[in-house]
C-alpha cells in the first residue's frame, strides 16, 4: 500500500517535462519551416534580376566592347594588304581577291569568336551567380537566419551585378598577316626572278629572289 503514490507523481512529472520538450520541438519545427520558406523567397527575390535577359545583355556588352576593336584591326589589315599589293603592282590581280577573301574569312571567324566569348562571359556569370546563391541557401539551411541570409543575398547580388572586367582583344589577324607577308615575298621573288633575267649577273630564275625591294 502506497499512500503518497510517488510513482504516479514521478511519471506525471516526466510526462509534463517531455510534453514541454515536445511543444518546444514542434514550435521550433514550425519556426524553422517559416524561416526556410521566407528565407528561400528572400534569396530568390534577391537574385531575381539575374534572368536570361540579364545574361544576354552581359554577352552583348562584351560584343559591343570587342567588335569595334576587331573592326579596327580588320581595317588596318585591309590597308596593309592594299598597300603591299600596290607596291608590287598586283592591286588588280587575283591575289588581292584571294587575300581579301582570306581576310574576310578570318574576320568572320573572329566575329563568331567574339560572340562566343560574350556567351562564355554570360555563362561564367551564370555559374558565379548560381554559386553565390547556393552559398546563401546553404547558409540559410544551416543557420535558419532569415535576416542575415537576406542581407547576404542582397550583398552577393550587388556584387554579381557589377560589370565584369573584359580582357582587351588580342591580335586577331596574325594568321592573315603572316600569309600576306608570304604572298608578298613570293610575289617579290617572282618579280626579282623576272628582273634577274636582265640582271647584272644574268642568272636567276626568279626562285632565288635576291634583288628584293
Amino acid at each position: 500500500m502506497c499512500i503518497f503514490n510517488s510513482g504516479a507523481a514521478i511519471a506525471k512529472q516526466q510526462a509534463q517535462l517531455a510534453q514541454g520538450q515536445a511543444n518546444q520541438a514542434a514550435a521550433d519545427a514550425a519556426q524553422k519551416q517559416q524561416a526556410i520558406t521566407t528565407g528561400m523567397t528572400n534569396i530568390n527575390n534577391a537574385f531575381a534580376g539575374f534572368d536570361q535577359n540579364y545574361f544576354d545583355s552581359l554577352a552583348k556588352n562584351y560584343t559591343d566592347y570587342a567588335t569595334p576593336q576587331l573592326q579596327d584591326q580588320y581595317n588596318l589589315q585591309k590597308k596593309n594588304i592594299i598597300y603591299n599589293l600596290a607596291r608590287g603592282g598586283n592591286l588588280g590581280s587575283s591575289v588581292y581577291g584571294d587575300q581579301m577573301a582570306l581576310l574576310d574569312k578570318q574576320n568572320a571567324q573572329d566575329m563568331a569568336t567574339i560572340q562566343g566569348t560574350g556567351q562564355d562571359y554570360a555563362n561564367t556569370a551564370k555559374q558565379n551567380v548560381q554559386s553565390a546563391k547556393q552559398n546563401v541557401v546553404n547558409q540559410l539551411n544551416t543557420t535558419y537566419d532569415v535576416a542575415g541570409t537576406n542581407t547576404e543575398a542582397l550583398q552577393q547580388a550587388q556584387l554579381m551585378a557589377a560589370t565584369p572586367s573584359f580582357s582587351p582583344l588580342g591580335s586577331m589577324f596574325a594568321n592573315v598577316s603572316a600569309l600576306a607577308a608570304q604572298n608578298k615575298l613570293a610575289s617579290q621573288g617572282y618579280g626579282a626572278g623576272m628582273s634577274g633575267v636582265a640582271g647584272p649577273t644574268g642568272a636567276g630564275t626568279g626562285s632565288f629572289g635576291y634583288s628584293v625591294g
Binding site: 521550433d28 519545427a29 526556410i36
Partner: protein, 264 residues
C-alpha cells in the same frame, strides 16, 4: 454482527478502487488514442513532404530526359547560331572585294562570287561552331535547373526532418503519460485503502473498548460516515466483535488485541 461502518467504508473503498481502475483504463485509452492521432498526423505530413519531393524529382528527371535535353540543346544551338551568324549575315562580303580597282567586269564578277562564297562558308563555319559551343550552354542550363530542384528538395527534407524530430519528441511524451495513467489507479486506490483502514480501525477500537480514541483517530478519515458512534455500540453490545476488513484481511477477536491483529 458486522460492523456497518467498516462494511460501508470497505465498500466505498472497493468502489473507489473500481472507479480508479476504470479511470486508469480510460486514461490509458486516451493516451493511446492521442498517440495514434499524432502518428497519423505525422504520417500524413511526411507523406505530403514525400509527394512534394517526388514532384521535384520528377521535374528533375523530366529535365534530364532525352527529349528535354534535346530541346535544350536545340535551343542552345539556335541561340549560339543566331549570335554567330547575325553579324555575318549583315556583312557585305562582296563590298570588300577589289572591284573598285579592277575595271574588268570579269574580275569583279569573280570577286563577287568569291565574296558570296566566302560569306556562305563563314556562316556554315559559324553554325558548326555554334553546335559545338552550345553543348556547354545546354549542360549549364540543365545543371542549374537540377541544382535549384536539389535546393528545393533539401529545404523540404530539412522541414520534414524537423517535424519528424518534433513528432519523436511528442511520442516520447506518451510513455510517461501511460505510466502515469497506470499509476493513477494507485492514487485513487490509496484513498480507498484509507477508507478501508479507517473502517478497520473503527472495528478495532470497538473491540478493545477504546472506541473514543479510535473514533478520534478514524474520524480523520471517516467522521462524516460515522456520526452515530456505531463503533461504541460494537464495543459494548457485542462480545464477539467481527472485524471485517477487505484491505488487511479479517480476524475474529475477543477483546483487546485480537481485533487489532486484523489491522496488520
Amino acid at each position: 454482527m458486522c460492523d456497518p461502518v467498516s462494511i460501508g467504508l470497505t465498500m466505498a473503498g472497493t468502489a473507489l478502487q473500481a472507479y480508479a481502475g476504470s479511470q486508469a483504463v480510460g486514461a490509458t485509452k486516451k493516451v493511446i488514442a492521442q498517440q495514434a492521432a499524432t502518428n497519423e498526423q505525422e504520417r500524413a505530413q511526411q507523406q505530403q513532404f514525400t509527394q512534394q519531393n517526388a514532384g521535384t524529382v520528377a521535374d528533375t528527371l523530366k529535365s534530364y530526359s532525352p527529349q528535354a535535353a534535346g530541346q535544350r540543346m536545340d535551343q542552345a544551338i539556335a541561340n549560339r547560331g543566331n549570335a554567330y551568324t547575325t553579324p555575318l549575315q549583315a556583312k557585305n562580303f562582296v563590298a570588300d572585294m577589289p572591284s573598285d580597282f579592277d575595271p574588268n567586269n570579269v574580275v569583279a564578277g569573280r570577286n563577287a562570287f568569291t565574296g558570296n562564297q566566302q560569306k556562305s562558308a563563314s556562316i556554315a563555319s559559324a553554325l558548326a561552331k555554334a553546335k559545338l559551343d552550345a553543348y556547354g550552354d545546354a549542360t549549364l542550363g540543365g545543371n542549374i535547373a537540377a541544382q535549384n530542384n536539389s535546393n528545393q528538395i533539401g529545404a523540404t527534407n530539412l522541414i520534414a526532418r524537423n517535424y519528424l524530430n518534433a513528432d519523436k519528441a511528442q511520442q516520447a511524451v506518451f510513455a510517461p503519460q501511460m505510466q502515469a495513467a497506470a499509476h493513477a489507479g494507485d492514487t485513487t486506490g490509496t484513498i480507498g485503502d484509507l477508507f478501508t483502514m479507517a473502517g478497520m480501525m473503527n472495528a478495532a477500537g470497538g473491540g478493545s473498548g477504546l472506541s473514543n480514541m479510535w473514533n478520534k483517530a478514524s474520524s480523520y478519515f471517516s467522521s462524516p460516515i460515522d456520526p452515530y458512534g456505531f463503533s461504541g455500540a460494537v464495543a459494548t453490545g457485542a462480545p464477539k466483535s467481527l472485524v471485517s476488513s477487505l484491505g488487511g484481511g479479517g480476524g475474529y477477536g475477543w477483546g483487546t488485541g485480537a481485533s487489532l491483529g486484523g489491522v496488520y
